[in-house]
Symmetry: C2
Subunit: 256 residues, 2 copies
Amino acid sequence: MSYSPKTVTAAVIIIGDEILSGRTKDQNLAFLAEALNEAGVQLRECRVVADVEAEIVAAVNALRVSNDYVFTTGGIGPTHDDITADSIGAAFGLAVDFNPEAVAILEAHYAHTGAELNQARMRMARTPVGAALVENPVSKAPGFRVENVYAMAGIPSVCQAMFHSMKHELIGGDPVRSISISVHLAEGTLANGLSALQDKYPDVGLGSYPFYHDGRFGASIVARSQLPERLAAAADEVRQLMRDLSGEPIEQGDEA
Amino acid sequence: MSYSPKTVTAAVIIIGDEILSGRTKDQNLAFLAEALNEAGVQLRECRVVADVEAEIVAAVNALRVSNDYVFTTGGIGPTHDDITADSIGAAFGLAVDFNPEAVAILEAHYAHTGAELNQARMRMARTPVGAALVENPVSKAPGFRVENVYAMAGIPSVCQAMFHSMKHELIGGDPVRSISISVHLAEGTLANGLSALQDKYPDVGLGSYPFYHDGRFGASIVARSQLPERLAAAADEVRQLMRDLSGEPIEQGDEA
């Protein structure tokens, strides 16, 4: 009997009018994709939604049932457009209130800095009732978790710090390893042979990513699998296919 | 009676395992967000989905009914993992076949370059039956449109060229204009006043985007509206709020 790898999945919800308007380029998706992969968790979908409660609720509820983990980014600050706590509360049918542990963190922080812990800043201590906190080593105001949904900050440096605070909680599956091999051959030249290899290796995903730079077309073939031996065998055959077509495989090394 | 602006919306579906694995950083969302905005079309949602037909179909069908336009990127090349045509066909219940106009484009192109128009490359001429084509000035293999859904290339330079080929087809609404004003004040200091301004200007979206660089926290307040006079009035009050809080407004000029 063949080994069945354990697969653990996640989805990311980027909450942010500023991404949809083109004002800000998202940086959290690329970070989370890579960091989750290292933790043995496969990112399966990402949605970028507007700062509108109904849309956040719909995304959270659609993705939390079909994935092991969901991460939201953005909308946990002190201003009126920070509605992630209310939206996740609504998604779970939970009241949203001041979280005593979060209140204590903010009180200690603002006592230390001397800034006023006003009504707006106190909003950052609101979570769905019963939520666990995610530590924020950068600016203190915490993220939170309800069941399998983690609410993280939108500022990339804070989002990253929060992820490192909580990543030990994630129970990953067998990691997906990948091997990337590029060649200066057109995709259309590789395609028939590659399709035959995909049929031969159903347990290895073979992706073909065309590129165009310095006036030359080429393709990167990325083999991905949770089964290291099958991955290595498929990659060898990809290299041989390239040589058979008079292309020189350009290795990009084993990636995580 | 007050003027009701005309709103036209779009969604983007990024089809790509390579984005979800963290291998590739998406560049098309930021481009489309800005380019659509210039065309008077507001991007309302983006989904990044895996190269899995059922997931692409679900995203296309969810988003095409709730938006005026949908743009997909990726998955229209010659390899086995290019399944956008089949997926959009399935979403609309349309057969997928060789598009005579697309076949003619490919035949002319490969006759010119001398490369072989093999079975794999011919896949790039397949579209849902009745689809209109989107011209590809870079590498010729066209995108296509079915009703309000445009299938574009994933390579950023090709996606951008295709967009410029078809943007005259878009019927935009009243453009959303924005004014961005930054200040070295913490969001929590601005939040109460900003919330009052949001209540006063329901027809202007006031977003607050914290930043942190060179060791200083600050916030960019972005006012967005389809009503230029209301936008200007709200922005004036934001500047005054900042000065009242001893902050110096840093103008980023009027953006498109």
